[in-house]
């Protein structure tokens, strides 16, 4: 079962999710896109502080994201299960 869609900023550390939508301004969307935040990419929260920035694992890289940017990325949480034939374990 897939859980509902929520902003990446609400995801608990250690959890994995699939990006469903990137909103926000054109500039932000473009920069997030460059780094690989596009629909279908699998992300994992490495570090998340209560109100500070997050560290996200994306592919083989790590990206620091401010809270504001993280709220603009809508994700669907994974339960460690297969999705679209792609393994969430990358």
């Amino acid at each position: 079962m897939l859980s509902s869609v929520l902003p990446l900023g609400f995801l608990a550390p250690g959890r994995e999710a699939v990006v469903r939508e990137v909103s926000g301004g054109k500039e932000l969307r473009r920069r997030l896109g460059e780094l690989g935040f596009v629909r279908g990419s699998v992300v994992r929260v490495v570090q998340s502080q209560s109100c500070g920035p997050l560290i996200i694992s994306l592919g083989d890289g790590r990206v620091a994201l401010g809270r504001g940017a993280a709220q603009k990325i809508m994700v669907e949480e994974l339960d460690g299960r297969e999705l679209d034939g792609r393994s969430p374990v990358k």
């Binding site: 969307r29 920069r31 780094l35 629909r39 083989d60």
Partner: protein
Amino acid sequence: MVASSQAAAKTPKEITVGLAGNPNSGKTSMFNNLTGARQHVGNWPGVTVEKKEGRHIRDDVVVRVVDLPGTYSLGAFSEDEAVARNYILSGEPDLVINIVDASNLERNLYLTTQLMEMGANVVIALNMFDEAEKKQIRIDLEAMAGILGVPVVPTVAVRNKGTSELVAAAVGAAGKEPGRAFTIDYGKEAEPGIAKLEAALAGVETIKHLPARWVAVKLLEGDESIYGRVMQSPRAGEIIKLRDEVAAHIERVTGLDPESLFADRRYGFIGGLIRETVTRKSTVEDRLSVSDRIDRVVTNRLLGIPIFFLSMFAVFQFTFVLGGPLSGYVEAFFGWLGAVAGALIANELVASLVVDGIIGGVGSVLVFIPPIFLIFFAISLLEDSGYMARAAYVMDRFMHRLGLHGKSFIPLLVGFGCNVPAIMACRTLENRRDRMITILITPLMSCAARLPVYVLFVGVFFAAYQGLVIFSLYLLGIVLAIVMGVLFKRFLFKGEVSPFVMELPPYRVPTLKGVLIHMWERGWAFIKRAGTVIFSVVIIIWVLANLPAGVEFAGRESYLGAIGGFVAPVFAPLGFGTWEAAAALIFGLLAKEVVVGTFGVVYGIGEEGLAAAIQTYWTPLSAYAFMVMSLIYIPCVAAIATIKRETNSWRWTGFAVAYSLTLGWVMAFLVYQGGRLFGLG
């Protein structure tokens, strides 16, 4: 098609190669491997982006290597991207070597797809191949080369592995006409529209050297630079109308704007490519890589800040404990040089020009070379190891409250060493508002050159509390930077805090060679800047100190003394309305530590008897007010020149000068008059 257009015009023995890649892909290491010491640093025309060029000689072929700015993509949004893109489109490079981090393929290949869509003649260097192998990532090189239709060469730039094979592949590819054009399938919703637009673009004069399909894609993405070029065409109206129709159609059918759709499709292509060519053997335990484990500690909510301060403390200890004695040697050397020159030159005026003016002035700046090189060494070490990005992450929460983000912290930190490289470091901030604010507040970071001024006065008046008083000045600078930052944000650069998005490179053990090259580049840039600007100012001030003819050097009767006397009343409410103090502050424009030397001259006793003179003419309160002024007022000429260069605006440069003068005066006034109110001084 772009790449080979000029090849015939050149001698067959020279090829030009552009080096493209993401930040942190190891591009710089590869550039150093290729060119060794045969490097030349300049600027790209019209922008402040640095242009590095070098030569690699192999048998009978000279490979001219041009290092392009590290970018994640090739839009025209930032100066870096525009520079890289325009260079590739210019037709000057015979081919582009794309450095790809093999341990982070997905993101790195995004740039590759863009290079290839532009029609560039690409050779891929799969760099950090050893790290990929360590991560159990197996890459089928032949399959990848086959799908992309370009040579793929595994390399390990930090160990100089694969460089020779890469050059061979580049030389081999340089002569070849590119085969089939590389295209990404943007799907049935978009392709017919792209084709229509491409057809409409045929024969448009303003884009005739560019691949038509690429122009069509960029137009749909809303790329401003391409838009601008098309708008110059007489057929602009018709083309833009078609563009808007196609874009609207794509949005209606897919629910996505073309830019998002194309990014998705490019990543889709990359995903497919990786599925075809890469096998991973990873387990759940592997996912928590060493980098993640270090990050758990270093970016920890409780430990992050203490670790950050500890590393900063280490940087300062390293810089000043080691740099102090080294500066002493430089000082001694210039002292000796002055003595020798003075003895050799018979004409008194010329001797004074050379000894007091040139050697004294330039020497007083070069004294700071050791600490500056050392702080650059330490900063390069932090950067190359990957920690710097974490420091920005750790500080983001705090900086965010000030309306800036974590990345602004790095320039501020560098500012404690020297404001010049600190202002240069503001380039890493993409957003202009953030960059301008950071440039404006960086000079409030008390650089190494201000320390001698504090040491002089503190030694005389506050010997018992030396550390505390000096620390209070550093702290004052930081607090003012925060306050001014908030004010600038509120009144001059309104708008939201730009979102904090930054790649965290994996931790790596830095190589000595890499760190030394980094240190050298930055240090040398400082020397050059300092050298040219300061030399001219040194001469001006020397002339002022020596005219009218026959006066005592920098005496009351000289023009400098006269100017000092003229300006002095302005400083009277601050407790130091003497011509000597005013002259010292004027000289301090050269470099703040020159203030000390100037007192030596104007009190006519040299630096040895200075303590006694200071004791006579100053009070603890006026001394403290003077230190506050020294901290805040106009950064030195080298910093001003850098601000001009980086902001590319005389207006903002003038503003930086004016606001720091005003702020310095107001703060010193508050200190002096406030102190008097409390019966001090």
